[in-house]
């Protein structure tokens, strides 16, 4: 239980996918103009990352390892993720067309989100078991959501600030992202194990 908590908080804060690992930057910049779309994107990513983590873990240990096909990891994982996103798209369209509308183009974009592939590969590299894998997947996506929603909040406010013409839009967004990343570096000092080991 303790190390699950450690994995979770490490995934959200210390190893934040966007701000520390620099994965999944394109949706981070692209979908962060408004808090609502950022939240929607975050929710979809949480679902996809959690399920993708578990399935890729199963693919790795029940198919690739027994057949000595470790070198096919990347391509096999991409297959899993792409299929999964398709499935999620269908389900959401059926269950909640409004949510589907709101997510729009961002839903299929998750397929090419490197953070999803990243979490799958990290799970294997860290030798997590299936529970840890699931927790890490959720944590990674939660960290993604946290970062993108915070970022969207900042950007919404920046719209009303007097900003020099040359910095408006993406330049300022990139600078903001850099500053947020520096801020998140502050978590690196945390001794999570000690924190939860009390």
């Amino acid at each position: 239980m303790r190390d699950l908590l450690v994995i979770f908080f490490a995934g959200v804060l210390l190893n934040n996918f966007i701000l520390s690992r620099f994965l999944g930057i394109c949706p981070f910049i692209g979908v962060s103009k408004r808090i609502e779309t950022a939240t929607g994107m975050g929710m979809a990513v949480i679902f996809v990352m959690a399920v993708a983590s578990v399935i890729t873990w199963a693919v790795q240990y029940y198919i690739l390892v027994p057949l000595h096909l470790g070198y096919l990891q990347t391509i096999a994982f991409i297959l899993v993720i792409a299929a999964l996103v398709q499935l999620v798209e269908m389900v959401i369209l059926k269950v909640s067309p409004t949510l589907y509308q709101a997510l729009g183009i961002y839903l299929p974009l998750i397929t090419t989100n490197c953070a999803v592939l990243g979490v799958a590969i990290i799970n294997i590299r860290e030798n997590y078991d299936i529970i840890q894998t699931a927790v890490n997947g959720i944590a990674g996506a939660a960290g993604f959501t946290l970062a993108i929603v915070l970022f969207a909040g900042i950007r919404e406010r920046l719209d009303f600030a007097p900003i020099p013409e040359a910095l408006k839009g993406f330049p300022l967004a990139l600078i903001t992202a850099g500053l947020m990343s520096i801020a998140f570096l502050g978590f690196t000092g945390f001794k999570l194990a000690a924190l939860f080991g009390l």
Binding site: I63, L67, L79, A83, L93, K94, G104, I105
Partner: protein, 296 residues
């Protein structure tokens, strides 16, 4: 053997996912209006968002639900609008006239006077900041081609007389040049509106005469001449109401300063169909296109 194993396992994985997705597609199939798909097929597929909807399929569903008109796609133009209305089973939308940009100033270097030599950044905005720009007419084209640089379609170039020329075949009517022009003398007009008052000067007649050979002096002769009452005089400047104008050319003949002009679509250059004489000669000491003006 190694390859076979790899190929088979990946193919197997793909097949399993494929079958599962196929089943899921059946199970989660959503009844959708077949017209949406048809219209999406007809739309250009540029997904540019020019219509204000998220991509072409977004517009397609909006058209089917009736919240967007059949001719909402700005890229597809009339052809697409007609095909969409066919799918929707409605009367094709009446043709919307193509709009092109027009520079509403005829005061080229040989016709308009300059007050001083401007040596500085070759940009209309910058030049205009220096006590209203080198041109004696503070309404006229500054001639540094800021609009030409702004045109994303290469539809503009500087003419020999220091005024921009618009290639109407290439102009999409995007309006980028209008935004760029610090003088606000570029306007979008329907292509068929050939008769134009090429002047934006609200100055009084006597002042206009001093600074420009082809400026509108607000004499009102065109207003009286026009058989369709398509011309109005507003604040010392004649304005043609495009809906009423039938391009008869009577005002062009009568205008004493030749500031009303009939443009021909074919050669894209301004053609003055009125009498000759006015606007010729009297050069004002300029050094070729875009060169610095020297005070007379």
């Amino acid at each position: 053997m190694v390859y076979l194993k790899a190929i088979l396992s990946l193919a197997g994985l793909g097949a399993v996912f494929g079958i599962m997705l196929g089943l899921a597609a059946r199970k989660f199939a959503v009844e959708s209006d077949p017209r949406v798909e048809k219209i999406t097929g007809v739309l250009p597929g540029a997904n540019c968002g020019g219509c204000g909807y998220p991509g072409c399929s977004g517009l397609a569903s909006a058209i089917v639900t009736g919240s967007a008109p059949v001719d909402a796609c700005p890229v597809g133009g009339q052809v697409v609008a007609d095909r969409v209305s066919e799918i929707m089973g409605v009367q094709p939308a009446p043709a919307r006239e193509r709009q092109v940009a027009k520079v509403m100033c005829g005061g080229g270097e040989d016709k308009a006077t300059s007050r001083f030599a401007y040596i500085g950044i070759r940009d209309c905005g910058a030049a205009g900041l220096v006590s209203g720009g080198p041109k004696a007419c503070t309404f006229g084209c500054l001639g540094f081609g800021t609009c030409v640089k702004a045109c994303p379609f290469g539809a503009m170039e500087m003419g020999a007389d220091g005024l921009p020329v618009i290639d109407e075949a290439k102009c999409t009517g995007c309006g980028k040049c209008i935004e760029a022009c610090p003088r606000g003398i570029i306007a979008l007009v329907p292509v068929s509106a050939r008769t134009q008052v090429l002047c934006r000067s609200h100055a009084r007649g006597a002042e206009v005469r001093k600074v420009c050979k082809v400026g509108c002096i607000g004499c009102g002769i065109c207003v009286k001449t026009c058989p369709n009452s398509a011309i109005v005089l507003e604040d010392n400047l004649a304005r043609i109401i495009p809906d009423k104008c039938d391009n008869c050319g009577k005002c062009v003949e009568k205008c004493p300063t030749r500031c009303i002009v009939m443009t021909s679509q074919r050669d894209l250059h301004t053609v003055v169909t009125g009498g000759v004489g006015a606007g010729k000669g009297l050069s004002t000491g300029t050094e070729g296109p875009g060169g610095c003006c020297v005070a007379k």
